[in-house]
C-alpha cells in the first residue's frame, strides 16, 4: 500500500489562549483518492482539525502541537503554509468572504498570480479550470452578480487551478439553499472522479452529504475521534444522536416504526436502502397506527399583506403582487431561494422599504403604511441573522434595555421588564455577564430578548438557525416554540428544510418575487413542482413512503411530523 497523503499520529493541539487542548490523541490516515466526511457538533474540534490539515495551524494560529502530522511523509511544520497549500486546497465556509478578486476570473487566477505564472499560461489555466466547474460563461462577473452556489464553484476553481491532491471543504452546505447544496455535493463527487484527488468534507448535515457516497465518516466529539467507520456501519452504531448529529430522517422514521437497521441494508442513502417486505409492512403499520393530528385551530388574521408590489431604485421588481396572511399565534416559515423576495417582503413589512402598491393591515386596521419604522417595531419586531450585527453594548442587561431606553421609558420600569425578558429567554443566570463571554447561540437569544422586551405581537427572524449544529438548532427552535406557546406569533425566513418540517405550522413559498404556494410544510415538501421552482429538496421521508408502497406520501410526512411533536418532543 502506498504512503498516505495525510497521517495524524497521536496528534494533539492546544491554542495559546486556551486552558485545555482542543484536539487530543488524533490518529487518522487519508489515502489518495479517498472521500471522507468529518462530522461532529460545534466545538468538537473539527474546524481546528481542518486548520491543522491546511496549515493555518501552526502557521497562522499559534499554540502547542504534540505528536505527528505528516503530509506525503513530511512533517507539516517543516513544510510551511505555502508548502502545504501545494498539496491541500481549502474551500472555506463563507463563500462570499473568501471571494477576493473583483471578478470571477481574477479570483480563480489569484493563486496562479501569487505563483508568478505568466501569460498566456495564466489565462489558459483560468479558462480551463472555470470550465471544469462549469463557470466559464461567468468569468467577468462580479461577486454581487453570482449566487451562493456559483461563488462556491469559483472558490473551488480557485484552489483547483493548482492541481492539489487533497480538497478540503469546511461546511460547504452552510450558506447554500437545499437545491444548491445538492448540486454542490454532486459537483464535488464528479470532480473527485475526474481528478482523483482525496476529498475531506467537514459538515454536520450528514444526510445531505450522503446524497453521494463517501468512503468513511470520522465522528468527532470533545476533541477526540469517536469513530472512523464506513457510513453504513456508523449509521447503525447509534452514536450520532448522542453526539449532536442528526440521523437521516428516513432512519429516524424506520426507528419509530420499529425496524432494526443493519449495515447490509445499505442505509447510507435512501437510494441504496433495501427493505424486506416485513420491514415495509412495519412502516405501513406504523402509519396506520398514527393518524394525523387535527390541525391547530387557525388564529385570527394578524398581519395581512395584499397585492404588495415593490421595486428597487434600479428598477428591479423584487415583489410582484404578493399576498400573505400571518395568523395570530402561529409559527410561519417563509421559504425560497436567495433573491426570491422573502427578505424584501420582511423589509417592506418593517418599513425599511416602502411598497409601491398594495396594502398591509395589522389587526384589520389599514394605517400600517402611516406608521414609522419605530412604531411598527412596537408591534412587529425584526431579528437579524447574525447576532453580531445587532449587539452594541458590553453588558447583556444594557443590550436588552437599549430599545426601551431609546423610547424614553423610565429606568424604574425598564429594570423589571428587562429582568422578566431575561428569565423568559433563559438568560437570567448570565444577566451580569459581558456579551462577549457568550456563545453564538446565547448571543442569538440576547438579540431575541432585546426585541421581545418591547413586547411586539409578531417577531420576524431571518435564518434563526443558520450555521448551528443540531444541538444548538434544537435549543433555539425549542425556545421559539415556547415563545409561540406564550402567544407570540413567529415568522421565520429560512431555507432550512428541517426547520420548516419540524417547527412551522405553515409555509409560504416565494419564487421570483411571487408567492407560489401557501400550505403545510408536509404539503410543500412533497410537491415536486414547488420543490423545483423554489430550489428546495424533496424530503427523504417522501422517498421512504414510496419505497414502502405508501401512496399518500404527504400524509405519511404529516404523521411523522405530528408523531415527533407529540411523542418525541412534547
Amino acid at each position: 500500500m502506498s504512503e498516505p497523503l495525510l497521517e495524524f499520529q497521536n496528534f494533539g493541539f492546544q491554542y495559546k489562549a486556551q486552558q485545555e487542548p482542543t484536539l487530543e490523541n488524533i490518529n487518522l490516515k487519508v489515502n489518495k483518492g479517498e472521500k471522507i466526511l468529518i462530522a461532529g457538533p460545534s466545538g468538537c474540534g473539527k474546524s481546528t482539525l481542518a486548520h491543522c490539515i491546511n496549515g493555518l495551524i501552526p502557521f497562522s494560529f499559534t499554540g502547542t502541537m504534540t505528536g505527528s502530522m505528516r503530509i506525503k511523509g513530511t512533517e507539516s511544520k517543516e513544510l510551511g503554509l505555502f508548502g502545504i497549500a501545494k498539496t491541500v486546497g481549502t474551500v472555506l465556509q463563507d463563500s462570499d468572504g473568501q471571494f477576493i478578486g473583483l471578478t470571477a476570473a481574477e479570483d480563480i487566477a489569484f493563486a496562479l498570480e501569487n505563483d508568478c505564472v505568466p501569460d498566456p499560461e495564466l489565462h489558459e489555466r483560468v479558462q480551463a479550470t472555470a470550465a471544469l466547474v462549469d463557470m466559464d460563461g461567468h468569468l467577468s462577473h462580479a461577486p454581487a452578480d453570482l449566487s451562493g452556489g456559483q461563488k462556491q464553484r469559483i472558490a473551488l476553481a480557485g484552489i483547483m487551478v493548482n492541481q492539489v491532491d487533497v480538497l478540503l471543504f469546511d461546511e460547504p452546505l452552510a450558506n447554500l439553499d437545499p437545491a444548491a447544496g445538492k448540486t454542490a455535493i454532486d459537483l464535488i463527487d464528479q470532480l473527485q472522479k475526474k481528478t482523483g484527488a482525496a476529498v475531506i468534507i467537514i459538515e454536520h448535515r450528514l444526510e445531505d452529504v450522503l446524497y453521494r457516497s463517501v468512503d468513511r465518516i470520522v465522528l468527532m466529539g470533545e476533541g477526540k475521534i469517536l469513530a472512523d467507520l464506513p457510513p453504513a456501519e456508523l449509521l447503525c452504531a447509534g452514536l450520532l444522536a448522542e453526539n449532536g448529529i442528526r440521523d437521516p430522517l428516513y432512519l429516524t422514521a424506520l426507528r419509530y416504526a420499529g425496524v432494526r437497521v443493519t449495515p447490509d441494508m445499505r442505509p447510507e442513502s435512501i437510494r441504496t436502502l433495501t427493505l424486506s417486505p416485513e420491514d415495509k409492512a412495519k412502516v405501513r403499520d406504523w402509519m396506520r397506527d398514527n393518524p394525523e393530528k387535527a390541525a391547530k385551530q387557525p388564529g385570527e388574521p394578524l398581519l395581512e399583506a395584499e397585492h404588495v408590489r415593490f421595486a428597487y431604485a434600479n428598477g428591479h421588481e423584487a415583489l410582484k403582487d404578493v399576498s400573505v396572511t400571518v395568523r395570530e399565534g402561529e409559527l410561519l416559515a417563509i421559504v425560497g431561494t436567495n433573491g426570491a423576495g422573502k427578505s424584501t417582503f420582511s423589509k417592506v413589512v418593517c418599513g425599511f422599504e416602502t411598497l409601491s402598491s398594495g396594502t398591509i393591515r395589522f389587526k384589520g386596521t389599514a394605517d400600517w403604511q402611516s406608521l414609522s419604522i419605530k412604531e411598527r417595531a412596537d408591534r412587529v419586531g425584526y431579528v437579524m441573522q447574525n447576532p453580531n450585527q445587532m449587539i452594541s453594548q458590553t453588558l447583556i442587561f444594557d443590550e436588552v434595555a437599549l430599545g426601551l431606553r431609546a423610547r424614553g421609558v423610565p429606568e424604574e420600569e425598564i429594570r423589571p421588564r428587562v429582568e422578566d425578558t431575561l428569565k423568559v429567554c433563559g438568560l437570567w443566570p448570565f444577566r451580569s455577564w459581558p456579551v462577549s463571554a457568550l456563545s453564538y447561540g446565547q448571543k442569538k437569544r440576547v438579540t431575541i430578548a432585546s426585541i421581545l422586551v418591547m413586547r411586539p405581537q409578531v417577531i420576524i427572524l431571518d435564518e434563526p438557525t443558520a450555521g448551528q449544529d443540531y444541538r444548538h438548532y434544537t435549543d433555539i427552535m425549542e425556545f421559539l416554540r415556547e415563545l409561540g406557546r406564550s402567544g407570540i406569533t413567529i415568522v421565520m425566513i429560512t431555507h432550512d428544510m428541517h426547520l420548516m418540517l419540524e417547527y412551522a405550522d405553515r409555509a409560504v413559498v416565494f419564487s421570483g418575487g411571487k408567492v407560489i404556494r401557501t400550505d403545510t410544510s408536509a404539503g410543500v415538501l412533497t410537491d415536486p413542482d414547488v420543490i423545483r421552482r423554489a430550489s428546495l429538496k424533496e424530503t427523504s421521508l417522501y422517498d421512504l413512503a414510496k419505497l414502502c408502497g405508501i401512496e399518500d406520501a404527504k400524509s405519511f410526512v404529516q404523521r411523522f411530523i405530528d408523531y415527533e411533536r407529540e411523542v418525541e418532543r412534547p
Binding site: G97, E106, C116, P118, H123, N386, S392, M454
Partner: protein, 277 residues
Amino acid sequence: MRNVFNYIDRKSPIHELTGAAKLVCLLLWSFAAMATYDTRFLLVLPVISLALFFASGIRLRDVSFVLGFTVVFMVLNNVLVFVFAPQHGVSLYGTKHVLFSLGGYFVVTAEQLFYHLNLVLKYLSTIPIVLLFVCTTNPSEFAASLNRIGVKYTVAYAVSLALRYIPDIQREYHEISQAQQARGIEMSKKQTLVKRLKSAAAILIPLIMSSMDRIEVISNAMELRGFGKNKKRTWYMGRPFKAADIAAMAFGAALAVTALVLNRVNGGRFWNPFLAG
C-alpha cells in the same frame, strides 16, 4: 453607485490603453499642471483634455455629478482667495492696475483677476483628466497598474481589496442601521450631540465587529492561496505595453518637460503679461 471607481465600459482608444500607461500619464499631466502658472500652457491643457474626453466616448452627463461638485468647489476657492487676499495678484505680478473698488479693503485689480483666471484654468486642466482616468480605467486593472509603476504588490492589492469589499460594507451598514432604527435608535438632527454619538456607536460597533470577522476570513483565504509567498506576482488583468501606451506616456513626459522649460524661460512659475505691457 456600485463602485468607488465609476468605471464606464465603452469601446474607445482611451479605454484600450493599459491602466499603467494611463496612470503614468495622469501623474505626469498633473505634475505639469501643478508646476506652472503659464497661462498660455494652462489654456492648452483643457483643450486637449476636452478632445480626449470626446475621443473616450464618455459623455458629459456621465460625470455631471462630480463636475457640478467641482464647479461649486472652484467658485468657493476663488471667493475665499479674493476675500482673504484681494491683493495677492499685485504682489505676484509686481504691478497694480486698479479697475474699480468694492469699498475699503476690496479693490479689484487686473492682476488679481488674471490670477483668478489662472486658478480656474488649473481646475480645468486637472479635474477633467482625473475624471477621464477614473471613468476609463477598469478597477481590476488598477492594482496591477500601481504595481507596474513600482508600488509594492501587497500595498497595491490593498487598493483592490478595498474596491472589492467597500460595497459589501456599505450594504451591511445600511442593514444594521435599519435594524437599529427599528429598536428606536435615531440619528436625526433633533437629538442632542451625546445621544447622536451613542446612536452612532449602536451602528458602528456591530459593523466593526462583523468586519473583524470578515477580515479574518479574507486574510486566511489569501494566505491559503499563497499571497505573500514571492517577492513578485503576475496579474491576470495586467497587459503588456503597446505602441499607443508608449506614445501616450511620451506625450505625458513632453507635457511635464514643457512645463519645466516654461518655468525656466519665464524665470519663475508665473508668466507675467503686465511687465511686457
